[in-house]
């Protein structure tokens, strides 16, 4: 089976600094993969290479089996991307924002479908017609997640998706991700939240100083053990 996402010996040098070095992993269709790491580990950078914003200095990244460098357009159209602390337009309301971005992705979506997605992320109905500059951080994040859902793409790239969400919302979000994976979507999320990653991911990769230094997989029918990963994370960070 062709992996949805694949990094092959990915290395990246920016302004003379090595940001990623020999990183390899795959994300299969229907799989949730979490890249875990501290500040400056190279997590977000990895996402940006899949979107074609950064070109690998060595190695390659593939989306649905095609090198991103050869078909940036194709890669982007297969991916819904949720940037870190995503902010949509403050002078537009939630519907207008969703409408604008979906139109940009050449998708026509009805108001009912928008409401459905916004219900899924539990954005209060009375807030949806208000300009987003009045939203809290969590509400902005929810709207951005709804946008990623409405893109209806086979792949989701999520950068710290749960930042700004309260614990209840995080649980609901995790359930939603699992539902999406069950429906065949592939998810690559980066986070520094060990607990959250172990909760939701099928596999966890540990990134440190631009190198993939560990990989954890759940036994069938179980979750990844948080303690083990946390210990590895802490040990590596201390080293």
């Amino acid at each position: 089976m062709i992996p949805a996402l694949e990094a092959r010996s990915l290395s990246l040098v920016r302004d003379g600094t090595t940001v990623l070095e020999d990183v390899s992993f795959t994300v299969a269709p229907g799989e949730i993969y979490a890249l875990l790491g501290g500040n400056g580990a190279g997590k977000s950078t990895t996402l940006l290479t899949f979107l074609g914003f950064l070109a690998p200095s060595c190695g390659s990244v593939l989306v649905n089996g095609r090198a991103v460098a050869e078909d940036v357009d194709g890669a982007r159209s297969a991916i819904a991307y949720l940037p870190e602390a995503a902010s949509l337009y403050g002078h537009l309301d939630a519907y207008e924002n969703l409408g604008y971005f979906l139109d940009l992705a050449a998708r026509k979506v009805s108001r009912a479908a928008m409401d459905e997605a916004l219900d899924q992320v539990a954005l209060p109905r009375e807030a949806r017609g208000r300009r987003m500059q009045s939203y809290s951080k969590g509400m902005r994040q929810k709207t951005a997640i709804a946008l990623a859902l409405l893109r209806d793409t086979p792949i989701l790239l999520l950068d710290e998706p749960t930042s700004g969400l309260d614990p209840v919302a995080i649980d609901e979000f995790h359930d939603m991700l699992k539902g999406l994976a069950d429906a065949g979507r592939s998810v690559l999320m980066v986070t520094h939240d060990v607990y959250g990653a172990c909760q939701v991911a099928d596999r966890v990769g540990l990134l440190r100083g631009g190198r993939l230094v560990g990989s954890f997989e759940a036994a069938a029918g179980e979750r990844i053990d948080t303690e083990t990963v946390h210990a590895a994370f802490a040990a590596r960070e201390a080293a």
């Binding site: 940006l48 979107l51 914003f53 940036v72 357009d73 982007r76 159209s77 991916i79 991307y81 949720l82 940037p83 870190e84 602390a85 995503a86 902010s87 949509l88 337009y89 002078h91 537009l92 207008e96 604008y100 971005f101 139109d103 940009l104 992705a105 951005a144 893109r151």
Partner: protein
């Protein structure tokens, strides 16, 4: 198409952008309105003067019984009416005269007379459409487009937008294009309305619109080239304002100084002094000193060229012309010098889109240096006609008959 519609809707909700576009519309309407008021005022002035001028001439002629006296006192109005496009670019009409009343005396003493307007006007300058399009519009475009990318980057939306749109072309081009189109339309709509009211020729309006769009396009490319660079919106705006300042203000000023230094024109006061001295000295010189050079130029009057009395009108007008003749070399140098400066300015203008637009407008509107020198040339030609009409009367001196003046040449402005 859907991309343009999307960006149009988006722009309509963007209060910042709408402020600049509304301002452009307002300024354009003001510039056009004031321009039309001014050219109408000038046309009305010409119409009134034409009437007054005819009355005054008839009155002057009726008082005399000699050809020389009548010629001395009869003034003739010449004028350069504003073109149908002049409302958009008053150009040199604020500094160079477009009205002269000339008579049979030495022309050089009359043609340099300045029809002075308020000096502050020439100093500060008018707010006409050409100035708006050449100087202010690029700044508005810069304000509209400088943070197209940088603004999204600062807001953390840049990557999301590009990733969503797939290709950058689907996003930035329609977004910038829509703002560009809105600004251009806000500028041009009042201008087109003004052109319609004034009945300006469609081809000229088309050319003028092309000039505005072309220059704005150049500015767009500049903004695009700078706006792509990483940097905060403030840093990009500062850089762009610097470029605008250099291209629209400093470069033209430096070029102007350099051109004027490298293309000297004779001091105009010299023309006057030379001509005055020549005319005044003639009174004291032997009559032959005047008549010889005059007859060399006009051999056809040699048979009537002797002057016996201390004062004869034909001698009087002959020395007026000889005065003009003495000033001819320096007058030519003055004219050529101004044309040379204008040619050099025309070349230098390619360095600055702002200069190019203003000069282009003045050219189309017939308010440039060449047009004003062209008017001077027509006044000279008309004055030559006046002389050709009067000389037979003065030299042959037939019995005085005021009816002869019905055939006086009339000044015809160019169609």
């Amino acid at each position: 198409m859907t991309a343009l519609l999307r960006e149009a809707r988006f722009m309509l909700r963007d209060r910042g952008a709408m402020v600049w576009i509304a301002l452009a519309l307002l300024l354009s309407a003001a510039a056009t309105g004031f321009g039309i008021a001014e050219v109408r005022d000038q046309r009305a002035t010409i119409a009134v003067l034409l009437e007054e001028d005819a009355k005054d001439r008839a009155n002057a002629i009726s008082k005399y019984d000699a050809w020389g006296d009548a010629a001395y006192d009869a003034f003739h109005l010449t004028y350069a009416p504003p073109s149908k496009l002049a409302f958009a670019a008053l150009g040199q009409r604020d500094t160079a005269p477009w009205l002269h009343r000339v008579r049979m005396l030495a022309l050089e003493g009359q043609i340099h007379e300045a029809d002075t307007r308020n000096a502050d006007f020439g100093l500060i300058g008018r707010f006409d459409f050409a100035f708006l399009a050449a100087t202010v519009a690029p700044l508005l475009l810069i304000l509209l487009l400088h943070d197209l990318r940088a603004g999204e980057r600062v807001a953390g939306r840049h990557d999301l937008l590009v990733a969503t749109a797939g290709r950058a072309l689907r996003l930035w081009l329609p977004r910038a294009g829509m703002r560009f189109a809105a600004l251009a339309l806000a500028l041009l709509l009042p201008f087109w309305a003004g052109a319609l009211v004034e009945g300006a020729p469609a081809l000229q309006v088309l050319a003028a619109s092309g000039l505005v769009l072309g220059a704005l396009l150049v500015w767009w490319l500049i903004v695009e080239a700078v706006g792509r660079r990483p940097g905060t919106p403030a840093a990009l705006l500062a850089a762009l304002v610097g470029i605008w300042l250099a291209l629209a203000l400093i470069l033209p000023a430096v070029a102007k100084t350099a051109i004027e230094a490298s293309h000297p024109v004779p001091d105009g006061a010299e023309i006057l002094m030379l001509q005055r001295e020549a005319v005044n000295d003639a009174w004291d010189k032997p009559k032959a000193a005047t008549m010889e050079p005059f007859l060399a130029r006009h051999p056809e009057w040699r048979a009537h060229g002797t002057v016996d009395k201390p004062f004869e009108w034909k001698w009087y007008y002959a020395f007026q012309q000889v005065g003009d003749m003495q000033a001819e070399p320096i007058v030519r140098a003055y004219r050529e010098g101004r044309l040379a400066r204008d040619r050099a300015a025309g070349i230098a203008a390619f360095l600055s889109p702002a200069s190019l637009v203003e000069r282009g407008f003045e050219r189309l509107a017939g308010t440039d240096t060449q047009a004003m020198i062209g008017y001077e040339d027509r006044v000279r030609a008309f004055h030559a006609e006046l002389r050709a009409f009067h000389y037979p009367l003065l030299f042959r001196d037939p019995p005085y008959d005021p009816l002869a003046f019905e055939k006086l040449p009339r000044y015809q402005p160019p169609r």
